[in-house]
């Protein structure tokens, strides 16, 4: 919450992205370009801007999330999130700080370059937090037909499944707020009621349990 949510998200990111965006704009300026996108996003109504921003950010995150599962050194960091064996709201914000760095780098800098500032994020950010909290909670919620649009705990528990068929070994149900990407790109997987499935990953029994060992484990594994 303090580092991942506040200190990094806005401190380090703020400084880094201010510099990156400035450099980028100067680079574009060399060619006499002052806006990257054809549509002037800033001229659209505020709610439209927020919706576009939400959808683009979620799609970027979905791709980053797939990468965290696919690239082996990144998976070592993402395992900290997957070491939950019983789902609950706090699992949502349980992740290694390196994930924050990977996500924010991949997400905010491109968004800032498209012309989105960090103002007026409150509602968007809060909706994402609400959906994310519910996804990890011990709740039987699917939102009816909206399950094809919104991620939900019944779908997300399969993302945390310990045992998956070998052709799905790089993971399933990568959605964060939106589940639509998984349905569009065929990474959805809800074979049965997941209420009582085992969670975690292979050999989780041997994964350390202490706080510092969670923080240090990925560095040991990846070297």
């Amino acid at each position: 919450m303090f580092f991942n949510f506040f200190l990094f998200s806005l401190v380090a990111y703020n400084a880094l992205s201010n510099v990156a965006v400035d450099l980028f704009n100067q680079f574009l300026g060399l060619f006499g370009i002052n806006n990257l996108v054809a549509i002037q996003l800033g001229s659209l109504p505020k709610w439209t801007q927020l919706m576009i921003m939400f959808v683009i950010a979620d799609f970027i995150q979905w791709n980053v999330h797939r990468m965290l599962h696919r690239v082996s050194w990144m998976w070592e960091f993402h395992k900290v999130h997957h070491s939950v064996e019983q789902m609950g709201f706090a699992a949502h914000l349980r992740f290694h700080f390196m994930e924050t760095i990977i996500y924010k780098t991949c997400q905010y800098i491109p968004l800032a370059m498209l012309g989105f500032g960090i103002q007026d994020f409150f509602i968007i950010h809060f909706i994402a937090l609400l959906i994310g909290h519910i996804n990890h909670a011990n709740l039987n919620v699917t939102y009816g037909p909206f399950k094809y649009l919104l991620n939900n705990p019944v779908m997300h528990i399969w993302h945390h499944a310990k045992d998956l068929p070998s052709e799905k070994r790089y993971g399933v149900n990568f959605g964060l707020s939106l589940s639509i990407w998984d349905y569009l790109f065929k990474t959805d997987y809800i074979p049965s009621d997941g209420r009582d499935i085992a969670l975690g990953f292979e050999k989780i029994e041997k994964y350390p349990t202490g706080f510092w060992s969670h923080i240090l484990a990925p560095f040991k594994k990846s070297t």
Binding site: L10, A15, A90, F122, F126, G210, H214
Partner: protein, 76 residues
């Protein structure tokens, strides 16, 4: 190079003030309800309450397995 140094310094300074104003719940530049810090705590308490009242798995303890690591990471 100096302009980037200044930009970095301003970003950190600005953010430090932002964090303090969030925790003190004192941010005249935006409405009182747009406080991330307390909104997140409220959201977590609400979702946890609903989980306790309407649990999916009934045999799961309120204080789950590996909870300590989860909560330390939550606070971080």
């Amino acid at each position: 190079m100096n302009q980037y140094w200044d930009l970095i310094q301003q970003s950190y300074q600005g953010y430090w003030n932002y964090l303090i104003s969030e925790m003190a719940w004192n941010h005249p530049y935006k409405p009182w309800y747009e406080n991330y810090f307390y909104a997140l705590i409220l959201l977590s308490v609400l979702v946890w309450t609903v989980e306790i009242i309407f649990p999916w798995r009934r045999n799961q303890a309120i204080f789950r397995k590996r909870l300590l690591v989860g909560w330390i990471l939550y606070v971080l």
